[in-house]
Symmetry: C2
Subunit: 334 residues, 2 copies
Amino acid sequence: MVTLKQLAKELNVSISTVSKALNNSEEIGQETIKRVKELAELYNYKPNKVALSLKQNKTNTIGVIIPDILNHFLAKVLFGIEREATLHGYNIITCISNESLEKEKESLQLLANGSVDGFILCVAEETQMKNEIEHFKKTMSQGLPIVMFDRVAHDVMCDKVIVDDFDATYRATKSLIDENRKHIAFISNIDGLSVGKLRERGYNKAILESVDHKPTVLSISKLKDAPQKIKGLFKKNKNIDGVIAADSSSGVIAINTALSFGLKVPKDISVVGFSSQSVAIHSIPKLTTIRQHAKVIGANAAQLLINRLKNMSDDSDPKTKIVKTSVVKSKSTL
Amino acid sequence: MVTLKQLAKELNVSISTVSKALNNSEEIGQETIKRVKELAELYNYKPNKVALSLKQNKTNTIGVIIPDILNHFLAKVLFGIEREATLHGYNIITCISNESLEKEKESLQLLANGSVDGFILCVAEETQMKNEIEHFKKTMSQGLPIVMFDRVAHDVMCDKVIVDDFDATYRATKSLIDENRKHIAFISNIDGLSVGKLRERGYNKAILESVDHKPTVLSISKLKDAPQKIKGLFKKNKNIDGVIAADSSSGVIAINTALSFGLKVPKDISVVGFSSQSVAIHSIPKLTTIRQHAKVIGANAAQLLINRLKNMSDDSDPKTKIVKTSVVKSKSTL
DNA sequence: GTGAAAGCGCTAACAA
DNA sequence: TTGTTAGCGCTTTCAC
């Protein structure tokens, strides 16, 4: 990489002249600016990012900590973050916590050494289980703002972007009730997570309000077992005629299982799931989905963080942004 | 963040003493080392990464450029890269090219300013179409090594990690022929990509060698249209009794479509697809998959790059690593 | 055993 | 209009 020093030498001017010329300083003569810029162009000069970071005490880099990159929702959020960040001239360093508290702590520690200006993260499952928040607080006390999305730690005072999980399942369940469904089950692969619990509660509320059966909840601990477990559920409760799925896979699996069981979808049974277009088409009929607008969530998180970074002095109260879900009706419901 | 300077001041010693003490230098007395380390611990001192990078002229950061983070295979490779990189003390900066040549160039340019020590990338679709490679060469000539995986530019002399695509479909097609299938179709959502072409060729070869029908190739340009297009294919060719799917979604969609068509899988029709466990379970029966070992690919790519970085002087010939696919037999084939 | 000083590449206050 | 200098945080050579 060519440096200012080399350009200066070649042009027989001082380093600062070159620097100013490249930054279009008023101080420098047009002629000089032109000469400098031409040579810089020729040598494809790019200001060294590391030196700039050191000088300006900011990296224009955001640390993103994701529990699971293979989760389609989380990948999509990451996509949204990357887009928005790039738009504002920020890079992202991605760490994957693998749902582990230890790895989450490590990643936070590792990047809190000047590598990044702030964090966007989704709390790991283990962290939520153990309800640990000290590492978040410590990071923030070092002057690194955090934005949490989806799964958040309520007791940490930071910006957050969340989904209206409770409402979403409440309304979805209601809508199945309106279809005159009599026995609606709730299937979840994420009952350990804050969002999973919220979704279950929304379902519970709707059921308890309107239907005369108790909530029927199926918890899938390993996705691999989903087909079998769902099959078991259908066998045990022959009268199930509606399913709310809390995660993106179990909805399509529920449809496929129902079909292989000889049930007609949506005639005999309606299925709604949290999912996205690209997964929803893995069943025929296509799954009616609760869309979380993952990209929007990512973009919002990035915006919140970048705003904080741009006004570091401004110590205003943390904001929580709720991104409303919307239902994309398809042929798996009436 | 606390700096050496501050520690030095507080301890009434010089900056260099503190630095040496923290690095366990022989020069420094045990007593001093102890004092210094205690204070550093107390203040949670971490050497500033940016300063280190500037000093040592390396960042311990890898730039990863991925065409599409929502592609399950690519996400999994990223996972593999991240793991291996973390293991060796490297961070990764992720850019998403969105299959665009322009974005790919930009990302490369943007990070080639000292932000990263090298690149791992999968060539964007547009880049492959236009067969552009200048930007890769330029980057490499700046002293930044590149490792390409999956979709590679053959004319660029760099390390590569690829899959035995041709062989994989050749063998998969053969295996359906061995099942006594008479009319095997090939479905692809990636016919513009180098790997897509290789896969098609493997299929073609097997068909031309052994069966008396011409290759039947269905090209899906937008995933959204997959169910419809596949339905069309089945309608037009009622005697199709085998399907090879080149991408992860169309395999499960083919099964689901066949079922909705009244066909029995695998009795009437066998389906094999490039996919992974978590997508394969989106059909009942589960899809027989050609596994690409995405995580291994990622890990290999990271290893190759890190090796180059560790021996920058060593100008040895580029290596190409082939990660063999394996078939995970499931109930969608006989 | 400890400290001073140079230098990584850059910007900016100040001097000329 | 241009140049000198200091300094961002760190390591390392060389002097004491």
